[in-house]
């Protein structure tokens, strides 16, 4: 059974115009050294939420009536978390997180919850959850432990250059349309800020391909209105060292295979 609760502490966004991002409670709150208290510890996705909040703040500064904002919802994806209703809402209030809604669902029905809430991006630390959501047509990205040390004043989104689908390729599968429209919206948000001092940075990373792939990706993204800030072309170099310098919050990818890597 799925239930959705609004967070009355936070002003609700216009759900049709905002970019709905769902993050699992497991990623946001740390339950490992659980002492059973009222408030959870801080999880790996904290800097991410703060960065999303920062983008909203700056967007509203530029234009107080702005409706293209991030609409963040927290979602539980298993029975255990589903039971922790008051602790989750309590912790959210305690930390003053800009979360507009809570979705309490279980393992079986969380994808239903994602679809019902028009989630445009689902973020989780669990690869299986990401794959399941993706298979159900929801754009998903995997969060990893490195996220805890990512910046909180700037949202850094990595786009995979190897998987940017060219305009002339076969029709995009429904599930992946999400990636294109999400990146387009990111592009629109990015345009509201100047070159320097932007709260949002779009980073293109070509892991396998060389300059041809990189050039194609830059051109394709530009045609979607997405201006890329940084571009890294690895052409097969081991990604670890470079990604750890990059410190991006998550990777956006047009194809499901990214999640399987």
């Amino acid at each position: 059974m799925v239930s959705t609760i609004q967070n009355t502490d936070v002003k609700q966004k216009d759900a049709d115009l905002a970019v709905v991002v769902a993050v699992t409670t497991r990623a946001v709150f740390e339950s490992a050294d659980d002492d059973g208290g009222d408030v959870y510890g801080v999880g790996v996705a904290f800097p991410l939420l703060q960065a999303l909040h920062k983008v909203n703040e700056r967007l509203l500064e530029e234009s107080p009536a702005e409706s293209l904002l991030f609409d963040v919802i927290l979602i539980t994806t298993d029975d255990e978390q589903q039971q922790q209703c008051s602790r989750i809402t309590g912790s959210t209030r305690h930390y003053g997180l800009e979360v507009s809604r809570f979705c309490f669902s279980s393992q079986e029905d969380f994808t239903e919850s994602l679809l019902k809430n028009n989630v445009q991006l689902f973020l989780t630390t669990d690869r299986n959850e990401a794959l399941r959501a993706s298979q159900n047509g929801v754009l998903s990205a995997l969060l990893d432990q490195q996220l805890a040390s990512c910046p909180s004043e700037q949202l850094r989104v990595m786009i995979s250059g190897d998987a940017v689908l060219r305009p002339d390729t076969d029709p995009v599968p429904a599930g992946q349309k999400g990636a294109q429209s999400f990146s387009t919206q990111l592009g629109q948000m990015r345009q509201k800020f100047g070159i320097f001092n932007s709260p949002l940075s779009i980073v293109l990373v070509t892991l396998h391909g060389g300059r041809e792939s990189c050039g194609d990706a830059l051109r394709t993204l530009r045609s979607r209105g997405v201006s890329v800030d940084e571009a890294h072309c690895l052409a097969g170099a081991p990604r670890g060292p470079i990604l750890s310098v990059l410190r991006s919050h998550f990777l956006l990818c047009d194809v499901v295979s990214c999640l399987e890597e």
Partner: protein, 386 residues
């Protein structure tokens, strides 16, 4: 000023007599510098058939390692301002700001940049790679060139178009969009970083990465397209600046005395020692296939030290480090420009702007290594040699 009686002496590696090496060597001690033993007759020819290179440029080498792992390759990171000529664009940036600069770049996206000071060097690296791939098709021990730039990715398309236009073999980039490139240099296992920005170069040196600032000379003498030639100054480039400190503080006589007294004590290493070492490793791969005489890499030491005295310590040190240098030129204070003009290196590394400028005046691409005591004396232009 002490006038040296010796003319610049060219010392071929084969002619230096057996030198004593101090017990406190900090490098591997090798045999004498006399001629190497006879080639192993069995390995004079190639042991593997070279892979055929088809078309404009073989993009995929079948079965071969195409993109080497950075830690296995000799990684050279070049900035866009030294690989290409971007003076006009720089002016737009300085005078009109970043937004106008990026607009200008995008407007001129299909116009390739002209070659910059590092261009011939990079072309020569590619020539060496071609020869290495012929001899060792599976090996990752190659030069790997990474374009590392402060630029925003907006400029990326123009850079890629330019690389295509000049038929360069650069597949790896790092466009940091304004963030410091230093962290990425480490992540790329950079062996040498070339930039137009002295501050970045200093930062890199501080992190232990060989780096130098490059400038565009007024005229450019023609350099070889088939043999990579790299020339190094000695003190504060290959070696530490310890001797230079003595010279700057106490003068020439004290310097000579110090060098004589410490002849058997090895000099400490300088920022470019590692790069010379990397070049030496690649050279040995050619020697192993019987290509010593035809080696597409040649290295030079061009130092103000003099052969009969202070130069000895330099040679002993190199030898103790197990580093061969093809030609050592001891100028005993004579200007370096004319000698470099004869050598025609693709790049010459020196810690003193005075020499860098002197070399550039005669058409040599010289790169400044902002390391050591000489940086405190940049205002003074002295002609006193060592």
């Amino acid at each position: 000023m002490v006038k040296m009686s010796l003319d610049p002496v060219q010392v071929m590696s084969g002619q230096v007599k057996e030198l004593k090496v101090a017990p406190s060597s900090n490098g591997e001690s090798r045999g004498s510098w006399e001629a190497k033993e006879e080639f192993d007759q069995d390995h004079l020819g190639l042991t593997t058939k070279p892979k055929p290179v088809t078309g404009r440029r073989a993009r995929k080498v079948e079965g071969g390692v195409f993109f080497p792992k950075p830690e296995n390759a000799v990684t050279v990171a070049v900035s866009s301002r030294v690989l290409f000529r971007t003076e006009r664009e720089q002016k737009v940036f300085e005078q009109k700001g970043v937004e106008e600069y990026l607009r200008y770049q995008i407007e001129h996206e299909t116009e390739p940049f002209a070659p910059g000071p590092a261009f011939p060097f990079v072309k020569a690296l590619e020539a060496v790679n071609t020869r290495l791939r012929e001899l060792y098709p599976q090996s990752e021990e190659l030069f790997d060139i990474v374009l590392v730039t402060y630029n925003h990715a907006h400029v990326g398309i123009r850079l890629i178009n330019t690389i295509n236009h000049h038929n360069l073999f650069i597949e790896r980039f790092c466009m940091t969009g304004g963030s410091s490139p230093i962290g990425y240099l480490k992540a790329w296992h950079t062996n040498l970083y070339l930039s137009a920005d002295a501050d970045k170069v200093r930062e890199a040196l501080a992190e232990g990465i060989a780096a130098a600032t490059m400038f565009m000379p007024e005229k450019l003498t023609e350099v070889s397209e088939t043999q990579l030639r790299v020339a190094f100054d000695g003190d504060a480039v290959l070696f530490s600046d310890e001797s230079e400190r003595i010279f700057k503080a106490h003068g020439l006589d004290k310097f000579f005395e110090h060098e004589r007294d410490n002849e058997d004590i090895l000099l400490d290493h300088g920022p470019l020692k590692g790069f010379l070492e990397a070049l030496g490793k690649l050279q040995k791969k050619f020697y192993a296939k019987g290509q010593r005489l035809d080696c597409p890499i040649r290295t030079y030491l061009v130092t103000a030290r003099s052969a009969a005295s202070s130069g000895i310590r330099a040679l002993k040190t190199l030898r103790a480090w197990g580093l061969e240098i093809d030609e050592a030129l001891f100028l005993a204070g004579a200007p370096k420009g004319p000698m470099l003009e004869k050598i025609r290196p693709h790049i010459y590394f020196d810690d003193q702007m005075f020499h860098v400028e002197g070399a550039a005046e005669m058409g040599t691409v010289a790169a400044h290594v902002p390391y050591g005591i000489a940086q405190k004396y940049t205002k003074q232009k002295t002609s006193v040699g060592k």
